[in-house]
Symmetry: C2
Subunit: 194 residues, 2 copies
């Protein structure tokens, strides 16, 4: 069965909701998966933090209320896309459990919560963007994990241990899960292992 | 050829951008067209003023800056949908020409600007929601057409004279245009006259 044949059979759409600390690997994974899914002929939109903040949430800050508003907007747009057959990927920190649950309950397509679960110690040690050092020094207020809470998912569809898995391993887990739910063609997961 | 066969051939997506004064008939037309296009097996999303204001633009007012932000957000979401094969319909007043042109220039799918051109005298006389009376009385500030500008499109793809056309006539014009651009199956326009 060709990818083209599969494509028309797989226009269900779903929401891949990555959540986790800054630096845990959400965007990296989302950016790894997006072209890979597109090569399969699937429709994919990555709603990443910066583009969304620029286009949907300019002017919002990092208070709980503003974060909730930003995350709700991503959820609203993701749902519009997913119910039209698109795999909508969010890679926002989305630190609050209640808002993630609210978006799940409103979703009209499968909502797949993926906890990108590198522990704080690991992401702080890596500190790829130097943000944790700034947050510890008090230069960044309301920084998730340091001066602002991160509420782990209680029942995520997937947990990715990006501190001890390669990106290919984590991506394969996502693809195997999507295959098991018939949201992508069977055999797609072989792609991530290239 | 069945509607089902056509559907797969018509997943181009486009933006139907209705613009015009309050009461001109934008939402009425959009709400008339949406189920009709869905019955043809097409994917359609109506981004109407109230739902968008609630979900994407809560807190924004009616200053030029806030209106521009609201309209830009609708344009951003419409483009995400349209480039994934959805007919995205906007029914916001969108009074400023430069912002409409900006959205057109950013659109990655056909952008069809539809001027819903009932004259002010007509919509003010109808005043279906009583808003014009309030605006004339000074109870509504920044009301488009009364105390705030409306900039007519200079080169819209379509102009609908809803003051002297029936809704079926206006809708048929839209469908004939979409047929002529091969954005919907040939023969679809017969539906509106149904």
């Amino acid at each position: 069965m060709s990818a083209h044949t599969d494509m028309s059979a797989h226009t269900t759409g779903c929401i891949l909701w990555f959540t986790g600390l800054s630096g845990a690997g959400k965007s990296t994974l989302a950016e790894f998966l997006t072209p890979l899914l597109r090569e399969l002929g699937l429709k994919v939109e990555l709603l990443d933090g910066d583009e969304v903040r620029e286009n949907l949430s300019k002017g919002l800050g990092f208070s709980k209320e503003d974060r909730d508003t930003n995350v709700r907007r991503i959820g609203f747009v993701a749902n519009l896309l997913a119910r039209n057959g698109v795999i909508a990927i969010s890679a926002a920190i989305s630190p609050y459990r209640s808002i993630r649950d609210e978006i799940r309950s409103r979703s009209q397509a499968p909502f797949i919560e993926i906890h990108v679960a590198a522990p704080l110690a690991t992401v702080e040690e890596r500190d790829t963007k130097g943000l944790y050092a700034k947050a510890r020094a008090g230069l960044l207020k309301q920084f998730t994990g340091i001066s602002d809470p991160y509420e782990e998912p209680l029942h995520p569809e997937l947990t990715l241990h990006t501190d001890r898995e390669s990106i290919e391993e984590s991506a394969t887990k996502v693809l195997l899960y999507l295959e098991s739910k018939h949201l992508i063609p069977q055999g797609s997961s072989a792609r991530a292992r290239g």
